[in-house]
């Protein structure tokens, strides 16, 4: 059953790495722009054809 200890160690190591990466990413301003992408998808630049239904009333 010694493999269980190896597993716990490996899992904790990975978890720790992710925690460090997360803290680092927050501190380094990684999530500075976490708004634009969510808004951008709402606009479709459809070309010559006019978008029908864009404000569909239901």
């Amino acid at each position: 059953m010694s493999v269980l200890f190896i597993l716990i160690a490996a899992s904790l190591a990975i978890a720790l790495l992710f925690l460090l990466a997360f803290i680092w990413s927050v501190k380094s301003g990684q999530y500075e722009d976490d708004y634009t992408p969510s808004v951008r998808i709402l606009f479709d630049e459809t070309g010559k054809s006019k978008p029908v239904n864009k404000t569909k009333s239901i």
């Binding site: 597993l7 380094s28 990684q30 976490d34 708004y35 992408p37 239901i58």
Partner: protein, 709 residues
């Protein structure tokens, strides 16, 4: 900056959409039929339509045909718009679409014929497995090439989910489908027993995760904001949601094997990760629901949003229930009962079904440049579907609890209160009836929905090519200073793919490799011997008929189970089982210690007409097994395949196998004759009896101390 003109390809989006709801109807109809078979066994009709063959058809149809086409629809539509580019190759899109439909048709033909690999949700035989792999690669090339030629540098969260879906499903499918072909329509799993079970549920659970969940989460992150007309509640939460979800999900598979012969540490690992999964799952659900903040008035009027809200809510319920069911003490009650069936249908009918229809109601009018044919009918569909889910799930929860407690009930004298398994089946038949009503309601809703969508398509004009424009992507990109690592990988799909692969592979590897490498995990038992050739043939009939859909071969170490069935199952008993047949549902009793329980004549009569031996039985009758001659044409190939897999038949045994078949068959024929049953020794029933009488007998009579670890 040059603005480029191009066209989105709507043709394959439309085709996948139609394929989704047409196959969906078929899959749900088969579901309703098998639900009715559990109440009226005479509905099993002929050998090709028995429960054991139709149930895999139902699960494969709704998972891979309904949801499969649904997710391709969502990906083909949203990927083009999110990346501001057309799908990379029209030809690959066509191959992907037609290839997938061909796979579905071949599944619909082979499964009723009894051509099956005998592993749940991975029943399709090896030639179809290869076809799935090829088409999946075609899909992958088309998707990644589209990502490479994109006009939008930032990869929106939905695309990450699509990428993780592709790579993980590829890995799961290949690893779980490794098998040795015997004939064109028959193969044996590369793994045996407990190891096969672990691989299978690692696959099975992650098929739920990466086929039914991640692509639909991606679709939620695209279509829900679109339908609501407002951005997702928190983009930051979506990033955390994604990474946490894919990392945790891959470890959760063993929770399907709690209290089985799987090593304890693997069970615990599965439990821990399953419980942790509630965090990212609910993060995603909350992110979806809060997207509607301030727009709940729209939900009242818009059936599309209604469908989506119930879908996300069902996702939340199912992902709360999942971790609860992974706790061993809860699982001790729920496992093998209808509780599991209720749980998966909250996910399938609620999450996948309702999100698919929400997206369809949003998408089809746009593809056809028209309005939805009838809002009223869409609302009717919504209410029929919602009632259907309730009528489906609630009675089955009730049935699950009832039956499980009856199984475990002892009298004050310490003997089983309901020793006859059938008593516990009869107690829940009314609940089965209500469940079928729920299924019928849901199917009626689906039919209304399909009518509405066809009418919508008929009143509009399909626009296969949709004009779009976007600036070309600048070749040189100078990253902003102070830019985070995530932003950097978001621009690198290939590296991103590799990173996702590493993430999901770690979980799989840590669980699988030790189980294979460390012998102590599967303690060998000296008295366990390979199956005789006749028993092997009988086992293949058992697999063909899909007996594992209703009968488990895994006795858990509870007093209520050892009293009812006999000594609990040991890992070492299954070392020659390619594939394993633990089963996951006890519609009928466990069969692990069936050998020697009844005389041969009992089995003969029981297979001919189950209710003659067990009055009130809901098992189908199997007269065809008594009529059919046993096909021995691949006998030698089967033995050789087993030898390749490491089953210790003596060298050159393939040549003697037929003689041994004849010897054992004659014995069973004589036994039956003594009991007054005249049957020729070359019938399939002889082989099946040989197998059933062998089950679990290897360690019967062995000193108990040797069996306990």
């Amino acid at each position: 900056m040059i603005v480029e003109q191009f066209k989105y390809d709507n043709r394959w989006v439309r085709n996948f959409a139609f394929a989704s709801f047409i196959w969906g109807f078929v899959g749900m109809l088969v579901g309703l039929i098998i639900a009715l078979q559990l109440i009226f066994p005479q509905l099993n009709f002929v050998e090709w339509t028995t429960f054991g063959r139709l149930r895999p058809l139902h699960t494969n149809a709704v998972i891979f045909a309904f949801v499969g086409n649904g997710l391709f629809m969502g990906i083909y539509y949203s990927l083009q718009r999110l990346l501001k580019t057309r799908m990379w190759s029209d030809k690959l899109s066509a191959i992907h679409f037609w290839g997938w439909q061909l796979i579905i048709v071949s599944a619909a033909i082979t499964l009723p014929l009894g051509i099956t690999a005998g592993k749940e949700y991975a029943e399709l035989e090896w030639p179809i497995d290869i076809a799935i792999t090829l088409i999946w690669v075609v899909f992958g090339i088309n998707m990644f090439a589209t990502i490479l030629v994109r006009r939008e540098r930032h990869l929106y969260v939905a695309i990450w989910f699509y990428i993780a879906t592709w790579i993980t499903v590829a890995m799961l499918h290949i690893v779980n489908s490794l098998e040795i072909p015997v004939t064109l329509f028959k193969s044996y799993s590369l793994y045996a027993g407990v190891q096969d079970a672990l691989v299978q549920w690692w696959y099975g659970h992650n098929a739920v995760a990466f086929f039914l969940t991640t692509p639909y989460l991606g679709m939620m992150y695209y279509f829900l904001p679109k339908a609501a007309g407002r951005p997702v509640y928190s983009y930051r939460l979506s990033i955390i949601h994604f990474w946490a979800l894919i990392f945790l999900y891959i470890w959760a598979g063993p929770h399907h094997l709690l209290y089985t012969a799987l090593p304890d540490w693997a069970q615990s690992l599965g439990t821990v990760f399953s419980i942790m999964l509630i965090a990212p799952s609910w993060g995603g659900m909350i992110n979806g629901l809060l997207t509607l903040r301030g727009a709940w008035d729209k939900v009242r009027e818009d059936p599309i949003l209604k469908f989506m809200v119930v879908a996300v809510t069902a996702y939340g319920m199912a992902t709360f229930e999942g971790p609860m069911l992974s706790i061993k003490s809860v699982n001790a009650i729920s496992h093998y009962t209808d509780w599991t069936i209720a749980h998966v249908h909250i996910g399938a009918l609620g999450w996948n079904g309702f999100l698919t229809f929400g997206v369809l109601y949003w998408l089809i009018p746009r593809l056809y440049k028209t309005n939805l044919f009838s809002i009223k009918l869409a609302n009717t569909h919504f209410w029929l579907g919602t009632l259907g889910i309730l009528f489906y799930a609630v009675p089955l929860y009730w049935a699950g609890f009832t039956q499980s407690f009856m199984w475990k009930q002892f009298t004050p004298e310490g003997i089983l209160k309901y020793p006859n398994f059938l008593e516990t089946v009869n107690a829940i038949k009314p609940m089965y009836m209500l469940r079928a009503v729920g299924g019928l309601l849901y199917l009626t809703g689906t039919t209304v929905g399909i009518y509405n969508l066809f009418k919508t398509a008929a009143q509009g004009t399909f626009q296969a090519e949709e004009d779009a424009e976007a600036p070309a992507l600048e070749k040189e990109y100078t990253p902003h200073s102070n830019e985070g690592w995530h932003r950097v990988i978001e621009r690198r799909p290939v590296q991103f793919l590799i990173a996702s692969l590493i993430m999901v592979a770690i979980g799989g590897a840590v669980e699988l490799i030790p189980t294979f490498l460390i012998e102590s995990n599967v303690p060998s038992i000296a008295s366990v011997k390979p199956y005789t050739p006749l028993e092997l043939q009988g086992r293949d009939i058992y697999i063909r008929e899909g007996c594992y859909n209703c009968h488990s071969q895994m006795i858990r170490p509870f007093r209520s189970e050892t009293e009812r069935y006999g000594e609990y199952s040991k890992a070492g008993e299954f070392v020659y089982d390619h594939p394993f047949q633990f089963g996951s549902k006890r519609t009928g009793p466990d069969l692990q210690r069936e050998g020697g329980k009844y005389p041969d004549t009992w089995h003969y009569n029981h297979m001919l007409e189950p209710s003659s031996m067990s009055p009130g039985s809901i098992m189908p009758s199997y007269p065809h097994i008594i009529d059919h001659d046993l096909d021995l044409s691949s006998m030698e190939a089967k033995i050789r395949a087993m030898q390749t897999l490491g089953v210790p038949y003596p060298k050159g045994y393939a040549q003697q196998a037929r003689a041994d078949v004849d010897k054992q068959a004659t014995q069973i024929q004589d036994n039956l004759a003594k009991g007054g049953v005249k049957v020729s020794k070359n019938k399939e029933i002889i082989a099946l009896i040989a197998y059933l009488q062998r089950l679990g007998t290897d360690i019967k009579g062995a000193p108990k101390a040797a069996a306990v670890k």
